[in-house]
C-alpha cells in the first residue's frame, strides 16, 4: 500500500512546494479571509459566498456580465504589465481609460454624421490617441526629468477624471438631457459590436488579442529582448545600442492606448454616452490583476475573468443582498495582500 502511494505523495508534496502549492494556499487563504470578513459583518458567510460564485459564473447571464467587466480589467492590466516589463511601475490605467473615452467621444461628436464604417475607426483611433497621450506624458516626465512614473501616473488619474467631468458638465453636455451631465447618445455606428445579445463587446477580443501579441513580442522578439536587457541593466542596454528612453515612451504609449480602448468601450457599449463615473476603479483592479499575474500577459487573461466575476457578483449582491459595493474593494485588497505575502514567503515563488 505504502509502496504504491509513496511516489504519489512525494509528487504531491513537490507540487505543493512549487508554484502550484503557493497558488493553492493563496486561494484557500483568500476564501478564508472572505468568509471571515462576511462573518464579522454578521452575514451568513457560506451562503453569501455561494451566492457570490453564482453571481459571477452561475448562469449565462451572470457569466456574460462577468465578461463585460473582464474587458476593461484585462486592458488596464496590460497597460500596467507592459511598462512593468521595463521595470516601470505605472498606476495610470484609470486616467488613460478616461482619456481614451474622452478623445474617442470627441471623435464621435466631431464625426457624428459620418457613416459607421468611418465613424467607428475614427472613434477607436481617437481613444487610442487619448490613452497613449496619458501614457506618454509620464513617460516623457520620466525620461526627460526623471520624475518617478508611479507618482506622476497616480496624480494624472485625478486630472483625467476631472477632464471628463469638465466636458460632460460643460461644452459637450447634451442640452436635452434635463440637466443630467452627459453627452448625447452615441449613434448606432459608434457602438462597438456585441455578441449573442449580451453586453459582451469587441473590447474583450481586443484585450485577448493584445495579450497574446504582447506575449509573443516580449518573449520572442528582439524588441522584447531589448526590454528585458534594459530592465535588468539599462547601462548594458545602452552599450548594446538599446535606447531605454525610447522604450519607455513606447511601452507607456502602447499601455495607454490599450487602456484608452477600454475607456471608449465603456462609453460606447455600456453607457452609450460619456458621463461622470465612467468606470471607477477599473484602473486599480487592472493594476492588481497585473501583479497577481506576475506581469505575465497570458496569465492576465484568466485572472481578469476571475476578477471580473468578483466585480459582477458584487454588483448583483448589492442589488439582492444589500452588500455595499465597497466590499468588492475590500475583497480585492485582501486578495492582493494575501498574494503579496504568500508569494514572498513561498520557497519556490511563482516566477514573474
Amino acid at each position: 500500500m505504502t509502496i504504491t502511494t509513496q511516489p504519489a505523495v512525494r509528487f504531491g508534496l513537490r507540487l505543493l512546494r512549487g508554484p502550484t502549492g503557493a497558488v493553492l494556499i493563496m486561494a484557500a487563504t483568500f476564501v478564508l479571509a472572505a468568509l471571515t470578513f462576511f462573518a464579522i459583518n454578521g452575514r451568513e458567510s457560506i451562503s453569501l459566498f455561494q451566492e457570490m460564485v453564482m453571481g459571477a459564473f452561475g448562469d449565462g447571464y451572470s457569466f456574460s456580465e462577468t465578461l463585460v467587466k473582464t474587458a476593461p480589467i484585462l486592458l488596464t492590466a496590460l497597460a500596467v504589465a507592459l511598462p512593468a516589463r521595463l521595470g516601470l511601475i505605472s498606476v495610470g490605467g484609470e486616467g488613460q481609460l478616461y482619456l481614451g473615452a474622452l478623445f474617442g467621444t470627441g471623435a464621435v461628436l466631431a464625426a457624428v454624421d459620418q457613416p459607421g464604417w468611418l465613424l467607428m475607426p475614427l472613434m477607436l483611433m481617437g481613444a487610442m490617441a487619448g490613452g497613449a497621450l496619458w501614457g506618454v506624458i509620464p513617460g516623457l516626465l520620466k525620461t526627460r526629468l526623471g520624475v518617478n512614473e508611479t507618482i506622476s501616473t497616480l496624480l494624472l488619474n485625478y486630472v483625467g477624471v476631472l477632464l471628463v467631468s469638465f466636458v460632460v458638465h460643460g461644452p459637450w453636455k447634451n442640452p436635452n438631457s434635463l440637466g443630467w451631465p452627459a453627452t448625447i447618445e452615441f449613434p448606432q455606428g459608434a457602438i462597438l459590436p456585441q455578441f449573442f445579445d449580451t453586453r459582451v463587446h469587441m473590447g474583450l477580443i481586443f484585450g485577448v488579442v493584445a495579450a497574446i501579441m504582447l506575449h509573443i513580442l516580449v518573449t520572442r522578439s528582439r524588441w522584447g529582448l531589448g526590454l528585458q536587457v534594459s530592465r535588468s541593466n539599462p547601462r548594458v542596454g545602452a552599450t548594446a545600442g538599446i535606447s531605454y528612453e525610447r522604450n519607455v515612451l513606447i511601452v507607456m504609449a502602447i499601455g495607454g492606448l490599450l487602456a484608452g480602448l477600454a475607456g471608449i468601450a465603456e462609453a460606447s457599449v455600456i453607457q452609450n454616452r460619456l458621463q461622470d463615473g465612467l468606470a471607477s476603479g477599473y484602473g486599480m483592479t487592472g493594476f492588481l490583476v497585473a501583479w497577481l499575474a506576475g506581469q505575465h500577459f497570458l496569465r492576465i487573461i484568466p485572472l481578469s475573468v476571475l476578477m471580473g466575476g468578483l466585480l459582477a457578483s458584487a454588483d448583483s449582491l448589492q442589488l439582492y443582498a444589500q452588500l455595499p459595493k465597497a466590499s468588492a474593494d475590500i475583497l480585492q485588497a485582501l486578495l492582493f495582500i494575501i498574494v503579496l505575502a504568500v508569494a514572498s514567503l513561498w520557497p519556490n515563488r511563482p516566477k514573474a
Binding site: 531589448g226 528585458q228 541593466n233 548594458v236 545602452a238 548594446a240 545600442g241
Partner: protein
Amino acid sequence: MEIQLYNITKRFGEVTANDGISLDIREGEVIALLGENGAGKSTLMKMLFGLYTPDEGSILVNGRETLIDSPQKAMSLGIGMVFQQFNLVPALSVLDNLLLAYPRPPFWTFRRLFGEGASQQNVLAYLEELAPGLDPNTLVRDLSVGQRQLLELVKVLNLNAKVLILDEPTSVLPPQEAERLWGLIRKMAEAGRSIVLITHKMQDVMACAHRVVVMRAGKMVQALTRENCSEASLVSLMMGDSSQRSDIDTHRDPDLAGKPPRISLRGLHANHGVQSIDNISLDIGPGEILGIAGVSGNGQHLLADALVGLVPLSRGEVIIDGVVLQSASRAPKTSDRVAYIPEQPAVNAVAGDLSLTVNVALSHFRQLRFFPAWGPEEEKTRDIIRRYQVRPDNPALGAGQLSGGNLQKLVVGRELEGPRDLIVAAYPTMGLDAGAAHDIYQALFTKAREGAAVLWISEDLDDLMSYAHRIAVLQGGRISGLFNPDQFDRLDIGRAMTGEHLPTADPAPAEPQARIAS
C-alpha cells in the same frame, strides 16, 4: 596587547583559503601581510575581526584562548579593522558618521544649538589629531578618498582599538597621500598600538613595516624582519616560481609603431553628474596600449563612457581612422567596432537576469533578426566559453550566477570577438584574483598586437608601468601628464596624479602628431 594566531585553517567549500597559519601580533609593531589578490590575507584578518570563524586552530589574546565570533566581540577586545569598502554614509556629515560608530553616543546631539558638548569633544578628539582643520560638519560625500580613510581610522580609534587591521589602505591613494598614511601608521605604532597592514605593494612594506609575513595561495610562505628582506626577494616569495608578470608579451610590432594614429581624441569636453572631463586630446596608434593613470574619480569613467557613446560630448570629437565616431554636434552612438571592458562586469557589462547566450549576443544586438534565431548565438557562446575557460560552462545559465572572474572572461571574449578598432578597458581586473587578471591582460594585449588601439584605465601604477606603452595621467578631468616609457617614474607620475606639476615637455615626442584628413 599580544595576539597569537595558532595554526588557523579556513575552507570555503573546496577552496582552502587559509592553511595552518600561525602569526604573532606584538605591541607597538607594524606587520605587513603581503600577498597577491586571493592569497588569503583578508580572510585571515576577517577571522581575527570576527567576521569568519576558523575551521581549525585558535586565537590567543594576551595568552588566553578567545572565541571571536562577531565584530562587536572583536571591538570590545580592542581589535579594529578598516576595510577597502568604507562604512561611511555619504549623505551624512563627518560628525554624524563618527557619532553613528561611537559606542556611547549622547542621546542629544545638540551641536549647532548649544555649542559642542563634552562628549562630542571625545568623538572629535582623534579627528583633530589626524586631520586638523577638517570641519566636522562637512558631508562625507564631499571628502576625498584619503580623507574618508582618515575618518575610518578615527572611527576605529574612537573604539579604543589597540590592534588595527588596515586592508589595502594605499590601493586607493595617490603616492603622496600614501606617504602621509605611512607616517601616521608609524606614529600609531610608536604610541603602542599594533598594526596589521594587508597589502600587495612593496612600497608599503618598505616604508613602514617592522615585520613582513608573505602569503601565497592560502599558505604562509615566510616571515621576515624588514632588515632581512629586499624588494626583489619579496616579489619572488609573493609570486612563487612562476612569476606571472613577465610572461605577458606586450611588445609592439615595430611595423605598427611607425604608422599614424588610429584613434584621435580632439579636445573632448563632457559633463555628467558630478564628473567632468576637460579638453582631452590624445592619439593612440595601432597596437598601442595607452595607460590612463589617476586617482579614481578624476573623470576616468566619464572618459570611457564618452568614448563608447554612453554620454554625450559637450565639445570635441573622437575620430577613428579618419571617420568621426563621436562628436558634440550629434547624439552619441555606440559602435560594434569599439570594445568596452568595464570593471565589475556584473554591474557594468552584463544583464544578470539573462542567459550567457543573450549576454554574448548583446555585442551584435542590432544585427539580430527581429525574431532572433538562438542556435548560432548559442554556438558562438559555447565557443567563447571554451576558448576563455569560463566556468561553469553552461550557456543557458543566468549571467548573475557566475563569479566576477569568469564573468569578466566572458565579457572579454565577447568584446574581443571580431574586428575591433578601439578597445576601452576601464579597471578590467578590479577585484579579480591574480590568475583571472593575468588571463584578461593576456587576451587584451594579444588583441592589441592585431592592430587595435587600446585605452586602458587602471589605478594600479605598477601594472601600468609594466604593460602600457605610454601613460597619460588624468587629474581633475584634465590630462596632467603624458609619459613615455623612458620617463616612467613613480614620483613624477604621482605628482601628476595629485596635480602638483604639469609637464612642460612635448607631450608625445615619439609619436607623429595627429593630422587626420576628414
